[in-house]
């Protein structure tokens, strides 16, 4: 119950941060990717501040040993670098560039333009389902 509450608080802070930082506006996100045109560096400031806070947070992981609200840490591999991962990241970047939305802003934007965000989010879930089906079919 406390873990669920913490997740709600985290998601809410994340959504608020995206909105305050302008990241729920595809114009700003595509403006950051438009390095050969009218470049808008705002996203770099968002990333920079988030990275700084998280770099500090990582230092507490070995010190606390176990998370405050869970049995243990579930952290991804750091070095498991595959062609699949790079190909996936490349496809994600293309999609990010096409509409200026990644998963977080796409979901947060449901309260800004419900129709647009719902079309994006539903397509994103469909894409995830396609991967799931193909991976199941190929064992």
């Amino acid at each position: 119950m406390r873990a669920e509450l913490a997740a709600l608080i985290s998601g809410t802070l994340f959504g608020a941060g995206l909105a305050i930082g302008g990241m729920t506006d595809p114009v700003r996100v595509r403006g950051f990717l438009d390095v050969f045109g009218a470049w808008d560096p705002t996203l770099a400031f968002v990333m920079g501040a988030a990275l700084l806070v998280m770099a500090i947070a990582w230092r507490f992981v070995p010190r606390i040993g176990t998370p405050l609200l869970a049995e243990n840490f579930h952290l991804p591999q750091k070095s498991d670098l595959t062609r699949k991962l790079i190909g996936g990241a490349a496809l994600f970047g293309i999609g990010w560039g096409v509409a200026g939305l990644c998963p977080g802003p796409g979901i947060a934007a449901l309260v800004i333009d419900f129709n647009a965000a719902a079309i994006f989010a539903a397509s994103m879930i469909a894409g995830m389902a396609i991967v799931r089906l193909v991976e199941k079919a190929s064992g």
Binding site: S10, L13, G22, M54, G93, A99, A126
Partner: protein, 148 residues
């Protein structure tokens, strides 16, 4: 405050928003012991993979995202944003869904959580999606395909 040379940039709002995002990700890390990777959490919520937290916690996080944006909209009198039309949104959504599952993460999981941990795979993934994102916008601009 504006940035010299970049009249449209919002550096202070960006820093403030980024700090909140960092705090949010730190709560997931130190509280739940998990990366705040939104693609993975969203996949977990709808039953398409992901791990580490319960499905209920995944839904709480996902519901928080629009809730947080709503609070900002209410406090600031609205959020400025312009979105692409249905076709580019569908194409983009499919690519983002497929790409984040194959690539094990997105801007939050790799870009914020992985890079701040100096994870090799996240550094490569982030560099890759930044490059293809930049290339996509450049190609679309060259072709005169305006989506926003």
């Amino acid at each position: 405050m504006t940035l010299p040379g970049f009249p449209d940039a919002a550096p202070l709002a960006g820093l403030a928003g980024g700090a909140l995002i960092g705090i949010a990700a730190a709560i997931m890390l130190l509280g739940l012991g998990r990366i705040a990777g939104i693609s993975g959490i969203a996949a977990k919520a709808v039953g398409l993979g992901g791990s580490g937290i319960t499905r209920a916690a995944a839904w709480m996080f996902v519901l928080g995202l629009p809730l947080g944006a709503l609070v900002v909209a209410a406090a600031s009198g609205g959020i400025e944003a312009r979105f692409a039309g249905p076709l580019p949104l569908i194409v983009a959504g499919l690519l983002v869904g497929i790409g984040t599952r194959l690539g094990s993460g997105c801007t939050s999981g790799h870009g914020v959580c992985g890079v701040s941990r100096l994870s090799a795979r996240s550094l490569v993934a982030t560099g890759t999606f930044m490059l293809t994102g930049i290339a996509t916008v450049a190609v679309m601009n060259a072709l005169g395909w305006e989506v926003l």
